[in-house]
């Protein structure tokens, strides 16, 4: 594992991604101190003001400062990402490890359940869940968490299948160690690598999904400074000012790109099979 982290440290793209993620984390944590204005404060004099010294990224149709809203938006996106991925990781790992470890009908049941959920396009499923729960930040986290649970479940199941008959697991079983303890102490530590990679990549999916749901009006609270909501408003006002739609989209892209780059870097670092493939003729 240490060698893998060392390899990740030598990947300039992944390091760049980590730096951008760190910058977003700083923005999210210190938003009230970093943002130059209150993200909700309207100003008649600043309506549709283009980027300039007073408003670096311009102001929207209500005169709200876009930079301040983008900085506060990082809070929403990262919080949604963290908790949604947390839900999917916990539920998916639990279900996947149980299915892979016990096999038989439990495996059949869980695998079919995953297949059924997979059959629904993620945004459509999230939309219907949001229609049931109603627009709010908490509900977005739950909806995205449910939608991405089978992804983690499938990976956890596959990885568990690969280790469930390993000698050390057999040895623990023959010593009378309980199933719960075997799964926690012997299976889980051996499936962490693919789960870490998927967690990082899922952050990117979660940020995109939150933005898409909010863009469609079924995401976070309508007045919240979410990047998706800002983009949706910007689309309606783009003939009056390009900046309203461009900067929130740029923030989404940068955040998603960073998580994807780090995810790719982690995959290269943790999965040696992917390195040195192929010969060029």
């Amino acid at each position: 594992m240490r060698e893998a982290w060392h390899r990740l440290g030598r990947n300039p793209l992944a390091l760049g991604g980590l730096t951008v993620i760190a910058a977003f984390l700083v923005c999210a944590a210190g938003a009230p101190f970093i943002a130059p204005y209150d993200p909700y404060a309207m100003s008649e004099g600043s309506m549709l003001r283009p980027p300039g010294p007073e408003h670096w990224l311009g102001a929207d149709q209500f005169g709200r400062d876009i930079l301040s809203r983008v900085v506060h938006g990082a809070r929403i996106s990262l919080r949604v990402g963290l908790i949604a991925v947390g839900i999917a990781l916990s539920a998916g790992t639990l279900l996947g490890v149980i299915a892979g470890y016990f096999g038989r009908w439990i495996d059949q049941l869980v695998s079919r359940l995953f297949e059924v959920v997979f059959a629904f396009p993620d945004i459509l499923l999230a939309l219907v869940i949001m229609a049931i729960l109603g627009p709010s930040t908490t509900n977005v986290m739950i909806a995205i968490g449910i939608v991405y649970t089978p992804i983690f479940g499938r990976i956890a199941r596959g990885s568990t299948l690969a280790v469930r008959n390993a000698t050390y697991v057999e040895a623990a079983r023959s010593m009378g160690v309980g199933h719960g303890m075997i799964m926690a102490r012997h299976v889980l530590p051996n499936i962490t690598a693919p789960m870490i990679i998927q967690t990082t990549l899922s952050f990117a999916f979660a940020i995109l999904a939150e933005a898409a749901l909010s863009f469609l009006g079924l995401g976070v609270e309508p007045d919240a400074p979410s990047w998706g909501i800002m983009l949706s408003e910007g689309r309606n006002w783009m003939q009056h000012g390009w900046w309203i739609a461009v900067f929130p989209g740029l923030a989404i892209t940068l955040a998603v790109l960073s998580f994807n780059v780090v995810g790719d870097g982690l995959r290269d670092a943790l999965d040696p099979r992917l390195r040195g493939r192929g010969d060029v003729p």
Binding site: R112, L113, E115, V116, V117, A119, F120, P121, D122, I123, L124, L127, V128, I129, A131, I132, G134, A204, L208, A211, A212, F215, L216, L218, L231, G234, R235, M238, Q239, W242, A245, V246, G249, I252, T253, V256, L257, N260, V261, D264, R277, G278, D279, V280, P281
Partner: protein, 313 residues
């Protein structure tokens, strides 16, 4: 092959049943119901009861499910409470838009991604590979709906080349149709192109390391022929699979793009059904999209089995 097809169909059956259960019960969990949505804020209980009876909403949920399933199996997805039109007819009338959007996206993706993926693999570590890597990363990271907004800003508002939204049927006016579908198709296809390019590059790198490619090279097979005839032909098998699966995902991904460009497709229909709390329409749309997704995956599996002789039937 027939036995394999039959076996795959049998395996898909429990999934289809699961889809019907989720599509039915999940939509029923949406707060409020069609009756209250139809009658508005002021209505008498008698009016509501009459409507509930008309739409069979007064029966137990499990009974409602089986009645609904029976109708679905006979090709009747119900009637939209809002428009009074049959749901299946409404879906079919919107299908052409979404299918065309998906076809344009996939076509664009394959045209760009396969050559770029091959060139990146052949020139591994070089300039083309770097460009392809950047394209792959940006493609999966840029939200399609933002790309759509950028396209509108550039090509509609500033340059005035293309219309910013709406739809014209291909039959009515092919040129106007293409002008309306170009931007949504590209915006939706960019992510697919990135995924297909990454897959092509990876598959090509795998194949280029195989013994038979080395052997062909040692025998003096010309480079172009080696890449296209020996390597690409085999590398394309997983690429076809990924492209097919992406086509299924695009059915869902089109929701946001259809909203950006006001395209009257299946995605926008689902969104309208949610907004109007139109149970029958939402159930029908969700069921239709999920079943289409399963069938596309099934088809991809069968094509894969046909292309790869190592798969046992």
């Amino acid at each position: 092959m027939l036995r394999y097809t039959f076996r795959r169909l049998l395996l898909a059956l429990p999934v289809l049943v699961g889809i019907s259960v989720i599509a039915f019960f999940m939509v029923r969990l949406v707060p409020g119901d069609t009756v209250t949505a139809l009658l508005g804020a002021h209505y008498s209980e008698a009016e509501a009861a009459a409507l509930r009876q008309k739409y069979e909403l007064d029966r137990p949920l499990v009974v409602q499910y089986f009645v609904w399933l029976g109708h679905v199996l006979s090709g009747d997805l119900g009637v939209s409470a809002f428009t009074g039109e049959p749901v299946l007819g409404t879906i079919v009338s919107r299908l052409a838009v979404t299918v065309q959007l998906v076809v344009i996206s996939i076509g664009f993706a394959v045209l760009v991604a396969v050559p770029l993926g091959v060139m990146a693999a052949v020139g591994r570590g070089g300039r083309t590979d770097f460009v392809a890597t950047v394209f792959g990363l940006l493609g999966i990271s840029v939200p399609g709906f933002w790309l759509g907004v950028l396209f509108i800003l550039l090509f509609s508002l500033y340059l005035g080349w293309l219309p910013s939204g709406g739809f014209v049927s291909l039959v009515d006016d092919p040129v106007a149709n293409l002008r309306h579908m170009a931007m949504p198709g590209l915006a939706l296809g960019m992510a697919v192109a990135a995924v297909v390019m990454r897959m092509t590059r990876g598959a090509m790198l795998d194949v280029l390391g195989e013994d038979y490619v080395r052997m062909a090279r040692a025998k003096g097979v010309p480079r172009r022929r080696l890449i296209i005839r020996h390597a690409l032909r085999n590398a394309l098998i997983p690429v076809v699979t990924v492209t097919g699966i992406q086509a299924g995902y695009l059915l869902g991904g089109s929701i946001v793009i259809e909203q950006v460009f006001s395209l009257p497709g299946i995605g926008l229909l689902a969104l309208q059904a949610i907004t109007n709390r139109d149970y029958a329409l939402l159930q029908g749309t969700v069921l239709f999209v999920a079943v289409a997704f399963v069938l596309i995956n099934l088809l991809v599996d069968l094509i894969y089995a046909r292309l790869d002789p190592r798969i046992e039937y």
